[in-house]
């Protein structure tokens, strides 16, 4: 678009409409980083009206410690934009909304800053999806560990239990105290086997308090009952 058309009132209205109806939250700032325009999507995202923010400093709505540094860096690279910065917008209710922003600066012929435009995209849905993916990955990792434990433990248990029961088959030849100890070994092996089985049936990892603030997997609470 040439400079002449930019000054045409119809073109200005058209551009204002484009800005206003963008599905992305658009915020423009003057050279002193005061808010000049705050489109509908930005208002919906933050719950703040234009009247509440226009004329305010950038920090009223955006947590952006490095904003000045980024703008300085962009001035050295005309036409450049800074993309992918993750920050937070301050909403009307005091909450903070995670967003990813794209920053563009507007310079005159003498490299003087005329304004800054920020395009913000809400990250909450993406973060929820990421949390779900992380949960799925965590479950997959636990399941893989459980399968390994199940296999690696059950094989040696097989030998221990088998040999214990072989000796118990000749219990008439053993002292009563020895038989009692072997029975105890047998019972504990079966207990380990049950834990290993439950570990392999984990569907949703549930953690419980252990000691010193550490947590441990609640094997009972995390696994499905086979008979259910």
């Amino acid at each position: 678009m040439d400079t002449k058309s930019m000054h045409n009132p119809e073109t200005s209205d058209y551009l204002a409409n484009v800005f206003e109806s963008s599905p992305f939250a658009l915020i423009s700032f003057d050279p002193h980083l005061r808010i000049m325009m705050f489109n509908r999507a930005a208002q919906e995202l933050t719950g703040l009206s234009c009247a509440e923010v226009v004329g305010c400093r950038a920090t009223r709505i955006i947590e952006f410690e490095r904003l000045h540094n980024i703008i300085d860096a962009l001035r050295k690279k005309p036409q450049a934009t800074a993309d992918g910065y993750i920050t937070k917008l301050r909403a009307a209710d005091g909450s903070e909304i995670p967003v990813v922003v794209r920053i563009s600066i507007l310079l005159d012929n003498r490299n003087k800053l005329l304004g800054v435009l920020i395009v913000a995209t809400d990250l909450r849905e993406i973060q929820k999806l990421q949390a779900k993916l992380l949960e799925a990955e965590r479950l997959a990792a636990i399941t893989e560990t459980a399968i390994s434990i199940n296999h690696e433990i059950n094989n040696p248990l097989c030998s221990i239990l088998g040999n214990t029961q072989l000796i118990l088959m000749e219990k008439e030849r053993l002292e009563p105290g020895m038989v009692k100890k072997l029975k105890s070994i047998e019972t504990e092996i079966i207990r380990i086997q049950r834990v290993s089985e439950r570990l392999a049936r984990i569907t949703r990892p549930v953690l419980k308090e252990y000691v010193d603030g550490r947590r441990m997997l609640d094997v009972e609470g995390s696994s499905v009952d086979e008979d259910r």
Partner: protein, 135 residues
């Protein structure tokens, strides 16, 4: 069960030793294979009354060994015998395990660690069934 021949297919030597000793105590003649391909060669060459088969084996896994042998028994190239599978796996996907168990055509599945007396009783039952006269 004196003189009945059992092939143990298992790569864990400790388990092999325990099983072998228990079976020999009961009078069985025991042979051993430590991987799937070795098991197939032995089963095709010799005559057995029962095979105790592990699943996680080098070469060919137990599901495949069982399926191949059961097909060859049907064709008549291998003398029929029962296959009792022992597995340490009792894993996340019950459906997959059910499918593989059916597909393998093994006669029975047992999970490790198993009760030695129960295993020996099941072996006796399978071998007795195998040798009952047909009506």
């Amino acid at each position: 069960m004196k003189g009945k021949r059992i092939l143990i297919v298992e790569d864990d030597e400790d388990i092999v030793e325990t099983l072998k000793y228990s079976l020999q105590l009961r009078g069985y003649i025991v042979d051993v294979a430590y991987d799937g391909l070795h098991a197939l060669r032995k089963a095709r060459k010799n005559e057995y009354d029962l095979m105790i088969l592990d699943i996680m084996l080098p070469g060919k896994n137990g599901y495949e060994v069982s399926r191949i042998l059961k097909e060859e028994m049907e064709e008549g190239s291998v003398k029929p015998f029962k296959i009792l599978v022992l597995t340490a796996r009792k894993v996340d996907s019950a459906e997959r395990e059910d499918f593989l168990s059916t597909w393998s055509r093994a006669d029975e599945y047992m999970y490790k660690p198993f009760e030695m007396n129960y295993l020996l009783d099941r072996i006796t039952t399978h071998i007795t069934e195998e040798h009952q006269p047909m009506n």
